[in-house]
């Protein structure tokens, strides 16, 4: 804490995870997140942790399944194509109630796509992504500082609720350098409370089983309804967002990650010209800040979502406003990055309607 460092987003993410107590990482190389495994390949051994370059993302996520089941703070990271492969494991991890932390540093898709920054994995992140009824807690940083500080939040949430928690970033946040100050004391994982469900060393206790299946009739429904209980609690208690000049706003921008920085620039340009622009930046994409958006939409009748995708976030915005405001989209997919001026033009068009 205290000291100011200059770091690349991906390295801040990796260092933040180690400081938050991560002692196990496995992953498979993919641009634009390679600095994460590269950094951890020397940093984790330094603190007595384990780094494994796995043979695939499928293997990597399953190594996490095992390591987390044994009680370690674990991490993996990737970009869209790799996260697609990890969805199988994430579904099992969710069914088995295991805490893990992972990051997606998004690139352009679909398919192999390109390595430019993009936000096309919003659905993949917030809608579960894999099979079955489950949720993942999704945090969306918009600075290197948040890249470094969010892993700690993710671990705290993942362990509190025994589930997967992720950072959804993009290639720009991963690659850029900015000053960062860690806002928490380094965590010593050996001093964390023991996990009463973890496997290994069964001396003096009953054996434990970790699994995501149950074939007894009606039983799995009960297990999945238990998941819902915790998801409801999270939606009530864990929503985080940033509201900028929403008090007097006549048009509201909604954007996360890199798009939220661009939107902030558009907001400032607009305000200079006397246009009352506000911004709502969801920090948790799930749980989504539905309530505040619902409240704002009672008053602000025009909402513009700014996304580096064909329009995915906009679905959650529309669900939140329930038709009370008109919702517009400015979406640039597959590596297209909007500029502040571009967004301002659109704001003006909407306002003159």
């Amino acid at each position: 804490m205290g000291e100011k460092l200059l770091m690349k987003g991906n390295e801040a993410l990796a260092e933040g995870a180690v400081r938050a107590g991560c002692r196990f990482f496995s992953g498979y190389p993919i641009t634009p997140q390679n600095e994460v495994p590269e950094y951890l390949s020397w940093r984790l051994p330094e603190v007595g942790g384990t780094f494994i370059q796995a043979e695939s993302e499928v293997a990597a996520i399953n190594m996490l399944y095992g390591a987390s089941a044994c009680g370690a703070r674990v991490m993996t990271s990737s970009s869209g194509p790799g996260i697609s492969l990890k969805q199988e494991g994430i579904s099992y991890i969710s069914g088995a109630n295991l805490p893990i932390f992972y990051a997606n540093v998004m690139r352009g898709g679909p398919g192999l796509g390109n390595i430019a920054p993009a936000q096309g994995d919003y659905y993949q992140s917030t809608r579960g992504g894999g099979h079955g009824d489950y949720r993942v807690i999704v945090l969306a940083p918009n600075s290197v500082s948040e890249m470094g500080n969010f892993p700690k939040r993710c671990y705290d949430l993942a362990e509190k609720y025994r589930m997967a928690s992720m950072v959804l970033a993009d290639g720009l946040l991963g690659q850029m350098m900015e000053p960062i100050e860690f806002d928490f004391e380094p965590v010593d994982p050996a001093k964390l409370p023991p996990k009463e469900w973890a496997l290994g060393n069964a001396e003096g206790r009953e054996r434990r089983i970790i699994r995501s299946y149950d074939l007894k009739p009606g039983y799995l429904e009960k297990m999945t309804l238990k998941l819902l209980e915790k998801y409801n609690k999270i939606e009530e208690q864990e929503v985080k967002y940033e509201a900028v000049q929403t008090e007097d706003a006549e048009i509201l921008l909604v954007a996360y990650g890199t798009s939220s920085r661009i939107s902030k620039e558009a907001l400032m340009l607009g305000r200079k010209e006397g246009i009352k622009v506000g911004l709502l930046r969801p920090i948790t994409l799930w749980p989504f800040p539905t309530k505040i958006l619902g409240e704002l939409s009672g008053r602000i009748k025009k909402i513009l979502t700014v996304e580096m995708s064909l329009g995915q976030l906009i679905d959650d915005v529309k669900l939140a406003v329930e038709g009370k405001s008109r919702v517009y989209l400015h979406g640039r997919p597959s590596g297209g990055i909007p500029t502040g001026e571009e967004v301002l033009e659109i704001i003006k068009n909407i306002c003159s309607e």
Binding site: M63, A96, L199
Partner: protein, 263 residues
């Protein structure tokens, strides 16, 4: 006076096993459970159940258990063993699980020399899903997806896992056994115990392949199944040890080198 000559090992729970009559899984479970109990490591053992007929292994083995996705056992075992090096970690897998969908995880865990034990049950068929062709199904053998017998022109040839893995540097113990006759069961027990001993002695990766019967999905009687193992499987899948830990040295830390040294 009555004398007790046999009792259920503590390595197994009291849960009633749901395997078919004549199935090899039950016998193999007992051997693994006995080995763990006799070696005195049960309390620090973590087992991994596969996806397959033995998915219920997490109810049968009397130790900490986990049940992951189809074929991913060796990756899960890797994560566990690295975090809990003092625990004994074993992954119990069928041939579809290990040699088809999980082949990459198997080969790479072996290549890394993970200090885990794999119990590989080769019954030449997909048992749980109703008898489809496995990567180990013999040429000419009928299954529900090779109704005229496995045709090598369409489906290629069965995979010999022990032979394949023995081309790797890292594995310490690789053996193939069977459980179709009492004498073979005794040999199988020995191999399984040795594989666990390799892990206890921290000597590296061990795997025992066990040829097994699946009368139900071979559509034969239990006795015919035993005969099939003897007459068809053993000739194609030779029994024996393929790699042993004797004389194996701990790899030294490699010197740091550039890809191409400057001359």
């Amino acid at each position: 006076m009555e004398k007790k000559v046999f009792s259920r090992t503590k390595g197994l729970t009291e849960v009633f096993m749901r395997y078919c009559p004549g199935c090899g899984h039950g016998v193999i479970h007992r051997l693994v459970a006995e080995a763990i109990e006799e070696l005195g490591v049960r309390k620090r053992t973590i087992g991994i159940a596969p996806v397959g007929c033995s998915v219920f292994a997490d109810e049968y083995f009397n130790c900490d258990m986990i049940q992951p996705a189809h074929g991913r056992g060796p990756a899960v075992a890797t994560g566990m063993k690295r975090v809990k090096p003092d625990c004994i970690v074993f992954s119990y897998q069928g041939d579809g699980d290990l040699a088809s969908i999980g082949m990459a995880e198997t080969v790479h865990a072996a290549a890394r020399g993970e200090r885990i034990t794999i119990i590989f049950v080769n019954n030449a068929i997909y048992g749980m899903t109703g008898g489809q062709m496995a990567p180990t199904t013999l040429v000419g053998m009928k299954s529900t997806t090779s109704p005229f017998g496995r045709d090598p022109r369409v489906a290629g040839y069965p995979i010999k896992v022990c032979e394949l893995l023995s081309t790797l540097e890292a594995p310490s113990y690789l053996a193939r056994v069977s459980v179709h006759k009492p004498a073979n069961v005794i040999k199988a027990k020995k191999a399984i115990k040795k594989a666990f001993q390799v892990q206890i002695d921290d000597l590296g990766f061990s795997l025992v392949e066990i040829l097994s019967q699946c009368p139900t999905d071979w559509f034969v009687t239990p006795l015919q199944a035993v005969e099939y193992v003897e007459k068809a499987m053993v000739p194609f899948y030779p029994l024996g040890e393929f790699k042993t830990p004797e004389g194996k040295k701990e790899p030294a830390k490699a010197e740091t080198k550039m890809a191409v040294e400057k001359g």
